[in-house]
């Protein structure tokens, strides 16, 4: 189980994943050797699985971000699997989430412009299998995006 030292290290690492272990140890007020040991344990126990680069799609010309909330035809037992498989083939889909609630699935779709989005929507999205209903939320701005956990 995690103790307070583990939590402190994770909290500081989360706020700046690129810092060196030396800086992390200092910020977390633990000796360097302890910090290394704790990080290793967090990794081997699978708590800390790694890290991924965050890409700003706008910087490479993808100005439009749309959240598509989708309900599926649940009378077909293969609906989820077949839908997700097909959605993976759409290059502009950056996230696929499934839910328990009013909607079954959500796709994040990026596009270069509204006309580009229109084209993706008509040719790639509307042809996805087993859709019963689809709703779009147009992304205006990101107010908070740290995804930091309250550890």
């Amino acid at each position: 189980m995690l103790d307070n030292t583990d939590r402190r290290i994770l909290r500081h690492l989360q706020s700046d994943p690129e810092q060196s272990v030396a800086d992390l140890a200092q910020a977390s007020r633990v000796p360097l050797a302890t910090c290394y040991k704790r990080l290793e344990r967090l990794q081997s126990s699978g708590v800390l699985k790694g890290s991924h680069a965050v890409i700003d799609w706008r910087a490479i010309g993808y100005e439009v971000l749309v959240s598509l909330r989708i309900s599926l035809d649940k009378t077909n037992p293969r609906a989820f699997d077949e839908f997700i498989e097909a959605a993976r083939e759409v290059a502009e889909v950056t996230e696929i989430q499934t839910f328990l609630g009013r909607v079954d699935l959500r796709l994040s779709v990026i596009a270069r412009s509204m006309s580009h989005y229109q084209e993706i929507y008509r040719t790639r999205i509307l042809s996805l299998p087993h859709m019963a209903d689809i709703e779009a939320l147009m992304h205006v701005s990101q107010i908070k995006q740290s995804e930091a956990l309250p550890i």
Binding site: L48, K49, G50, R102
Partner: protein, 152 residues
């Protein structure tokens, strides 16, 4: 905005999987020398394409059993400023992301909690008391998959 070639895209794809890769190892994977890989990484950083990294943490092991997405509709548009709502919602530790959206809802929140009763506490005490909050829809996250996007 900058244009990418195939090597840039391969480099970004690799870093999307593992942000800790160094220029030498990255270069080996995409068939470039260490210095030219480093130059490309620097260019992508300077152009604002690579904007940092995020930890991949096991939520279950950290005790966060549920993730819920909330669609929030503001009740009193015009009377409550968006800034007041945004400031208050950003300050809630359990709220991981806040997006301003157009459509059925005004805001989309990603919320983590220990379990469903903890989520209910966050919802009642923190979210429903936000200035101007109106209709709230909750969807519990079951699975999540991040895709590489148009880098193929």
């Amino acid at each position: 905005m900058i244009d990418l070639d195939d090597l840039d895209r391969a480099l970004l794809r690799a870093l999307q999987g593992d942000a800790t890769l160094k220029a030498a190892e990255l270069g080996r994977r995409i068939g470039l020398s260490q210095p030219s890989t480093w130059r490309r990484m620097k260019r992508l950083g300077d152009a604002g394409v690579l904007v940092g990294r995020r930890l991949d943490l096991d939520l279950e092991k950290l005790g966060f059993g549920v993730t819920v997405f909330l669609g929030v509709k503001l009740a009193t548009k015009g009377r409550v400023s968006l800034e007041d709502f945004e400031r208050a919602v950003t300050a809630i530790p359990e709220v991981q992301t806040v997006e301003h959206v157009l459509g059925l809802y005004d805001y989309r929140l990603r919320v983590v909690a220990r379990d469903l009763s903890d989520f209910e506490r966050v919802l009642r005490r923190r979210v429903m008391t936000l200035p101007g909050v109106g209709n709230v829809e909750a969807n519990v996250l079951l699975t999540e998959e991040r895709r590489p996007g148009p880098l193929g």
